[in-house]
Symmetry: C2
Subunit: 317 residues, 2 copies
């Protein structure tokens, strides 16, 4: 390997406060706590596929880790270690400095060690593997949803999709709303504290990366239940207030990249869910319920299923 790539790797000098041995050996050594299972997720992000050439590297470093933290949040796990493999077309020190700054700041904010990795020449490609801990038996698993469960959503959805439409030039918003939606798109804040607080209280969870309908559908399919959402209960972002109602609805139910948590819990856990949300400082809204059947169904006040119009869908999907 070219020595300049090894040099570049030093920007990622592993932190070691919770890692027995990080870097400088054939493998990192981690010591998980007894009574905890490990949640592990791997994501590969390719330039030209997952992000555009010229993407701000600091925002990219943030987002690459945020997406992985969000996966662990959706398992109810505490993120502890991350491994980064990085291919770069050239040893571009300015790019690496900014990328590592974005990634390491977010890692530090969540108490995550960069425990190891690899740096090489090649078409730009980021592969992150994140490792977290969750008490044995407490993980939030998609297959644990049951008919009769409540369905909950953290925060609001649709803002990142509105930000993306703005970035593409197909949507205009008042400046204050624009700033919020673009920040949401470029610097998502994964719901790590909420996910951890819900472990052992909620049943199933998923992070909303592909849109609420699509992601709730993954729970429905995996657990073999129907998910019924009351349209009137859906929290709607004030940043979308100036949009036509049909666009607002489309952004809310089909917009991706918000990284909110959609989760199910027994009705007996309503107080516990609210207490967990308060602990995490994250608002949650009960938006529906699981029933027998399949699929995801959004009902209006009269109980009629509300369908997405494809125009709105295409706009925010």
């Amino acid at each position: 390997m070219a020595s300049e790539f090894e040099l570049i790797g030093r920007y990622f000098s592993p932190a070691t406060h919770q890692t027995r041995l990080a870097g400088g050996d054939d493998a990192a050594l981690l010591e998980p706590r007894p009574g905890f299972a490990l949640a592990v997720s791997t994501d590969m992000l390719v330039e030209g596929v997952h992000f555009l050439p010229g993407t701000d590297p600091e925002a990219l470093g943030h987002k690459a880790l945020a997406v992985n933290l969000s996966d662990l949040a959706a398992m109810g796990a505490e993120p502890r270690w991350v491994f980064l493999a990085l291919a770069l077309p050239a040893a571009d020190e300015a790019w690496v400095a900014a990328f590592s700054r974005g990634l390491l700041q977010l890692a530090s904010a969540h108490g995550v060690d960069l425990a190891g990795g690899d740096t090489t020449r090649g078409p730009r490609n980021l592969c992150l593997t994140i490792v977290g801990e969750v008490p044995v038996g407490h993980a939030l698993r998609r297959d644990r949803a049951r008919a009769g469960h409540d369905v909950w959503l953290s925060g609001v959805t649709g803002e990142a999709a509105a930000g993306l439409a703005m970035a593409k030039g197909t949507l205009a918003l008042p400046p204050v709303d624009a700033v919020r939606c673009l920040e949401r798109l470029h610097r998502p804040q994964p719901r790590v504290a909420l996910g951890r607080a819900l472990a052992g209280i909620a049943a199933a969870a998923i992070d909303v990366s592909d849109g609420l309908l699509a992601d709730a559908g993954h729970i429905a399919e995996r657990a073999d239940v129907a998910i019924v959402i009351d349209a009137v209960r859906l929290p709607v972002s004030s940043a979308l207030a100036t949009l036509p109602e049909s666009d607002r609805f489309a952004a809310t139910v089909a917009g991706g990249d918000d990284y909110e948590l959609c989760f199910t819990a027994e009705p007996a856990q309503r107080d516990a869910v609210q207490a967990a949300a308060a602990t995490a400082g994250t608002p949650v809204t009960r938006i529906g319920r699981c029933e027998g059947g399949s699929g995801v169904h959004v009902l209006d006040r009269s109980g009629t299923e509300r369908r997405l119009q494809s125009a709105g869908f295409d706009h925010f999907r």
Copy 2:
């Protein structure tokens, strides 16, 4: 993500015999055994950098995992789970079928679960993250070598380098030797059983991927010792018997990709090392010792330092 890539991902349908939850959720769930530390290593392999376009995909699947298994062997860890992220320029089903066959056969042979991963479109890139277990305190760490330790080597080195020189057309060997060297190059067998057997017996270890001198040098640097190798003790492959002595020596000390283990242990452990080697069915040779000082020094019978001639070095490096 293009649906054909999800389809392709099914070739890697995770095995689940030692994984609580693999695939189909936001993260895999692993339950490490109490009293064990985890050894984790990540490697990224890029087409055109680490392997040539047109490389046999089955051999590539084998080698990609073998290299990672070798990293864990060098830690004394038992490999248990692997995660695979894969970028492919097209959803080439024949390629994936052969690649997954090579990878999964070796995984199965070592009792390793493919516990999760990611598949995407992009320039061909393989990123493997392997997770193994080693009893707390027993890991073979480069920084644990001490002056006075013996230095040992498993098997023989130089065969893969001879295979590479043959593949490049710069070396010819008799057919039986050629077959052996090419097999060694294309289908390395990581010393997993030996590494595990040495945990708690040996001190420092490294796998020989860049050549014995270079890799022993990593131990010397990390542990702040000198490594002195007696040339006469170095095991030499019978497959290299037809080479001029200077080339044989160069291949043995500078040839890479053999994935043997070079390790140190206290002299009081000699019997235990031999017993571990017998348990693992892997020959080991005591080739030298650690002393005060720095660097790696190969001494001839008279105690004179033997230096590599650059011609031989270039040939097999």
